[in-house]
Structures are given as structure tokens and as C-alpha cells.
Symmetry: C2
Subunit: 332 residues, 2 copies
Amino acid sequence: MRRVSLRLVTALAACCLASFAAAQGAGGALPSWRDGDAKSRIVEFVKAVTDAKGKDYVDSRDRIAVFDNDGTLWAEQPMYFQFLFMLDQVKAAAPRHPEWKDNAAFQALAAQDKAALAKLGQKPVLELLGQANSGMTVAEYDQAIRKWLGSAKHPKFQRPYTELTYLPMQELLAYLRANGFKTFIVSGGSAEFMRPWAEKAYGIPPEQIVGSQQEVKFEMKDGKPVLTRGASFAFIDDGPGKPVGIYRNIGKRPIAAFGNSDGDLQMLQVTTAGEGRRLALIVHHDDAVREFAYDRESHIGKLDQALDAAPASHWIVVSMKNDWKKVFAFEK
Amino acid sequence: MRRVSLRLVTALAACCLASFAAAQGAGGALPSWRDGDAKSRIVEFVKAVTDAKGKDYVDSRDRIAVFDNDGTLWAEQPMYFQFLFMLDQVKAAAPRHPEWKDNAAFQALAAQDKAALAKLGQKPVLELLGQANSGMTVAEYDQAIRKWLGSAKHPKFQRPYTELTYLPMQELLAYLRANGFKTFIVSGGSAEFMRPWAEKAYGIPPEQIVGSQQEVKFEMKDGKPVLTRGASFAFIDDGPGKPVGIYRNIGKRPIAAFGNSDGDLQMLQVTTAGEGRRLALIVHHDDAVREFAYDRESHIGKLDQALDAAPASHWIVVSMKNDWKKVFAFEK
């Protein structure tokens, strides 16, 4: 023991508060995860890539972790939440678009016909949304999203959609960041639908959200520079599009990837095809009581090929029912 | 004074080393900048937005700074360095493309005819590059870039291109980051051309580089997932494209923007049109001795409209000749 200034210690301590909080979080990591194979494989992976003396060590700059959003970080049933927002937007715009009466995507969306929507695929539905908000500035669109999220409620849980994030996944995000990872969302939905709430919900800032992209255009409007929305989509960040979105927006191969459906298959493949130790994980929706149970036959979040590929690829399949003590933070 | 454990102090100090180094850097900030209007306006801006008690305070999450690359962070004469790389790539691919003989962009590039290239614009030249590397995997392309950068030398300075970064701008990047800013490159060039060296040169990681985008496609090749390059460009991140690139990849309006040409005009406009205190800066190339002197009449990095807009928009115009003590780190 030697005598040193308390003031110095206080200054040092204040400066480090954030890091210490993170380190403590890692100590009692993943409290909503039951002990078992999934949890222990996650923890082993994180230990391996952060052990500076180990053979699997990865520099913190390369600790890139990518997360699907719908069905991986928050719920996606009875329909992608963005589709429900779109439905309201499309309904509001319908009087201005009499031609939609003969549009198959409009009919399916208006009837909430999941089978028809699944058959059509994402593209015509996204095109419809594109037409509905075409001409809006990005600021106006952002306001429409915030307004909807502030009032709409989930039909089963009767809560705002932003409360339907998975507590164990929030813990996982925080645990990875506490261990030097940079966490990204790579979603089939559009980035602007996630940006208003993802930082608060997940600790992921807007610049770390990759998603599908509607065309936007720079214009001068009343002497002010604005971005207005076009009608078509420039990029669909789903399935084989996800590795492309990762290449474009991140520019590094992730060392960890988290998904729940066949839309994440290629993202998981690219992640685990890299050299060195890798982690891939699939959230399996098998809890009809606390959430929903669906996989191979589902029209939303279909999990079939990726489930078949998991064992040979050494991807962790998480049972929501067995591996998670709690699904949502609001549970008793 | 109270007695506390030296070990605690040591641990705290080690943990804070990075932050302290940054804070020290801010103390003697911008050593290669001469005292004057440009330097003092930069420092005043940074003080204003980081003063938690001031009216101009900006939360660190919103301290987004965007930098053009060519002509702003490194040199761009006698021709964009990526074009010189492309020229070598196109030359190598020419025997496989006899149809290029009648292509105006190929002729201009092969003759290094800057006037013709300027008249054609970026698009046909980028298309030619697209064809030249089409079918390569992104890993192969990355290797080609690294190989070229490792051997090619600038015709005037006879040094590797990666040494032609501007020392005062490197200091500015570090100074902003030391004050809680997140720094991004938003370039008309393609991200993959900057990613191999920008982290070392500027401290900007691959995921914070926004650029023009060539098509890439996910494929399974010999049972392995790869991304291969298509022939066309999906997005040109220049002029009115820059605010679009910023919206897509960052999702926040920057509070500070740095450019040098009319290709940065809309990025500066969007940045300074935001509410609250903003900073926009133009690097004016007026130093024919240490670098190059060009502006309104130049075919590369033309600065005309943005120079006219600067005074009324309160954008700082930096004279490389007068405001910078040194241009390059290698200068005596």
C-alpha cells in the first residue's frame, strides 16, 4: 500500500464507470438463460475469442456480431410488425390508388391473408408500401413510424410492439458488447422502421442497423435540402441479400451471427465459413404458451432449410421453451 | 489525502489509458494547423457542442462527422487514385474485352485524357471497371487492391499512395474522436478501395466507410458461400448521392461535414440545414508547391458551386497554403 491522492482515484473511477458496469454485467451474464448447452456454448465462444493468450483470440476490431431482428430480437407473429404498420399506411393511401383494387398484394394485405402473402413473397408487398409512402420526406416517414409505434398494440399481448423484444437476447447483446463486440442488426425489414427504437431497446445505434432500402432522392424543396422517398425498393436485405448488406455496410465477415428463419440461412453460412472460431445460433420458436410455436410450415419466419443445416454446421438451436427462463421482460 | 491501494489505482489507470491519450491529444490539438480563422472556428465548434452546460450541447451519440476522401483526406491529382488502379485493372482485362476498342471511357482512360474523362462523368468509367473485375470474388478483389497499393507509386511524389494522406486532416479526425465524435468517410469512390488502409491511415474502421457500390451477389462455389462481383454499379455515392448514402448507412444527419469539391455540395447542404450548431469545411487546393493548385476549372475535384455557396452558408474554406503548416507527414 502506498499513499495516493483520493482525487486521482475518484477521477479515474468516474472515467471508467461505463467499462466497469459492462464488466460486472459479464460476471453475471445471461441471467434469463437456463444453464445448458446453448448458454455454455455461447460463454465458451466468448471466452475463447477474448482470451489474448488463446489460439482462438480475435482482435476486438474484428469482433463483429450480426443479429436478425424479426423473430430473433423481437416477435414476428401473427405477422411482421412492419407489415402491420404498412397495412395501416396502405389503408390510408388506398383512396388515392384506385388501381390497387386489382393488386394481389393489396388484396392479401387488406385481408391479412398470410398464406397469400407468403406465396407472393416480400417483393410485391414492399412495392405496395413503397407506393403508399412515395413522395414523403424521410423526416415525415420517420414521424409516421414513431406515431404508429406509440399507439399500436399487439393483438395477442395487448402491449406496444416495442415491448415485445426478447429479454435473453437483450442480455446477449449487452454481454457481447461488454466483451468488446460491435453489434449490428441485419434485417429483412427496412432500417428506418427500427432506427427510432432500436437504440433504447437493444443498445444498437442507427448506424449499426442494416436493412432493406427503399429508393430515396435528394431534392431542394422550398429552398431546403430534403430526402424524399421513391416508390421502389433499391435493395432487399433478406436471404442471399443479407451477406450483401453485410459486405456493403460492415465490410467485414462477422464472427457471430444470430437468426431464426431461412431468411438468415446465407448470413449464417457466410459467418461460419470464415477462418477461426465462429458462433451461429438459431432461435427456435417452440413456446406456444409464452410466445408462439412455429417453424417449417409457417408463412412468417419459416424455419426449414436452416434447421436441417444446423447440426452438421454446428449451429446452436435455442429452444425458447427450455433455454429461456423468461421470454419478455414484462413476464411475472 | 487518504490511503488507497496502489493496485486499484494501477488497474483504473490501465483501463483509462486510451481515454487519457485521447484527452491529451485534444489539449495540444491540431499542431499542423496554423493559428487563424479556420482552426479557431473548428475548436470553438467542438467546445460548443461538447459543453454539457451550453446551449449548443450535442449528445455524443449524435456527434456524427462525415469526411469526403479524395481531395479531402488524401490527394486526388493528377487523377483519382482509384482511377489509376482501375486503369491497371482495365489494361489487364482488355485482351478479354475486344469490344472495348470502341468504348469512349476505355479510350479516355487508356490515354489518361482527363478532359474526356471529366466530360464522360464517373458512370461510364465505373461501368468499365465493373466489367473488368466482374466475376471476381470480393476476397480476390480485395487482394488485387492490396497488391496494387503495395507496389504503385504516385507520379509526382514517388511514394505509395497511402502516404499521401493529409496530416492536418488526420489530426482533425483524432481531435474529433477525442471529443466523442464518430467519424465516417463518405466517398464517391468505392468502399472496398478504402477499407484495406483507412483504419491505419485515419483510424476509421471498414464499417464507417460509405462509398459507391458495385453489384455483388451471393453464390455457392465449390460448396463454399462466396460473394462475387457483378458488372454494374448499384449506387453512386457522389453529389446528390452522398446524402442518400448517409441516410442509408448512418441514418442520422451529421453535425459536421468536410469536403473539397462540388461532389460534396449536397452533403454540406444537408449537414448545415439541420437544427442547432453545425460545422462545414471545404479544403481548398491552393498550394502548387507542396501539393496541387486547382478549383473551378479542374477536371478532377472541381470546386465551383460549393466555393460560391461557402460564404453565405458560413462554411469554412481552408487554404492549404496558409492554414496548414505541413500537408504530408513525410515533409521536412
